[in-house]
């Protein structure tokens, strides 16, 4: 299985993602943002970081970079595209996912472990994960998911909510909302569920000694379904 991680100026989770993908069996290649074409891939990953220094709006400049056209073509043809953190912000800025990630409600940069509840397993990203709640890591200043009421209705009707922030029991209420995201949304799909954007970093939870292994469950499942 081939994967491609795109590197933008300011990406900083690209190598962690490379390590994670390779650990679980992907043949990963790194692709520079100014390339015109993406080499043949089964999965494209937009990594976390601060592409273009978060200038203008997070992900807005990266969303117009040269490589993006082929990412959009790949996504529209049904290819799997995963955006983590800044990658999620880029996906909303390109219009591949609805809504936007705003500044955190309390203006703080949040860096901590959180629990997220899997809301939809009818897709390649979460299909065979046995757990309902995963412990993952977040590190962001703009993770406060927002969209219009109409968009939210459409997202809910199409079961596009992927994961929500919750406690270890799965309560995804306002007490377990770190950043003010509407409906505690931590990650969403497009309608066809081939594109996933999420703020938590599964690539930071793949080592039993350093972190935890709920990220391993994510990648093990993914390689099994690609």
């Amino acid at each position: 299985m081939k994967s491609s991680v795109i590197i933008f100026p300011g990406s900083n989770c690209d190598r962690d993602m490379d390590v994670a993908l390779k650990k679980f069996g992907f043949e990963n290649q790194m692709v520079w943002h100014n390339d015109a074409e993406i080499p043949k891939s089964d999965l494209i990953v937009l990594p976390g970081g601060f592409s273009y220094g978060d200038y203008l709006r997070c992900g807005s400049i990266a969303g117009k970079s040269r490589i993006i056209k082929s990412v959009v073509d790949f996504a529209k043809s049904g290819g799997l595209v995963l955006g983590i953190c800044n990658g999620f912000q880029i996906l909303t800025e390109t219009g591949l996912l609805p809504g936007i990630l705003q500044q955190n409600k309390y203006l703080n940069f949040i860096c901590k472990n959180v629990f997220v509840k899997i809301k939809n397993k009818e897709n390649k990203y979460f299909k065979n994960i046995k757990k309902e709640i995963l412990e993952l890591h977040i590190a962001h200043n703009e993770g406060n998911y927002f969209c219009s009421k109409d968009e939210l209705n459409s997202i809910e009707d199409n079961e596009q909510i992927a994961v929500t922030y919750c406690d270890d029991k799965g309560n995804d209420d306002e007490y377990n909302n770190p950043n003010g995201a509407i409906k505690n949304i931590a990650g969403i799909f497009n309608k066809d569920k081939n594109i996933l954007g999420m703020m938590p970093h599964p690539e930071r939870m793949i080592d039993p000694f350093l972190s935890g292994e709920d990220g391993s469950l994510f990648f093990e499942n993914l390689i099994g379904n690609v």
Partner: protein, 77 residues
């Protein structure tokens, strides 16, 4: 042709920075400030002498890059 643009958050969209600025102003001597909305200002030089053409180009720029219409409005001055 010089075109100036202001981008602000739409009414109803939470503006935590504006809120923090307002509270700080209230804590200084400006206790009659009831709301602050923070925005962005763009000063754009377009190599185009026709004002209408330049402005319609800038409008396209606003829609495609300068503003995110999910949460922001733009105003060409």
């Amino acid at each position: 042709m010089n075109v100036k643009v202001i981008v602000t958050l739409k009414n109803g969209v939470l503006d935590p920075q504006g809120k923090a600025i307002q509270q700080t102003l209230n804590g200084m001597t400006f206790d009659n400030v009831s709301e602050v909305r923070q925005g962005k200002f763009f000063d754009i030089e377009v190599n185009e002498s026709d004002e209408n053409k330049a402005k319609s180009q800038v409008e396209e720029m606003c829609k495609k890059l300068l503003a995110n219409l999910v949460i922001e409005d733009y105003k060409i001055l």
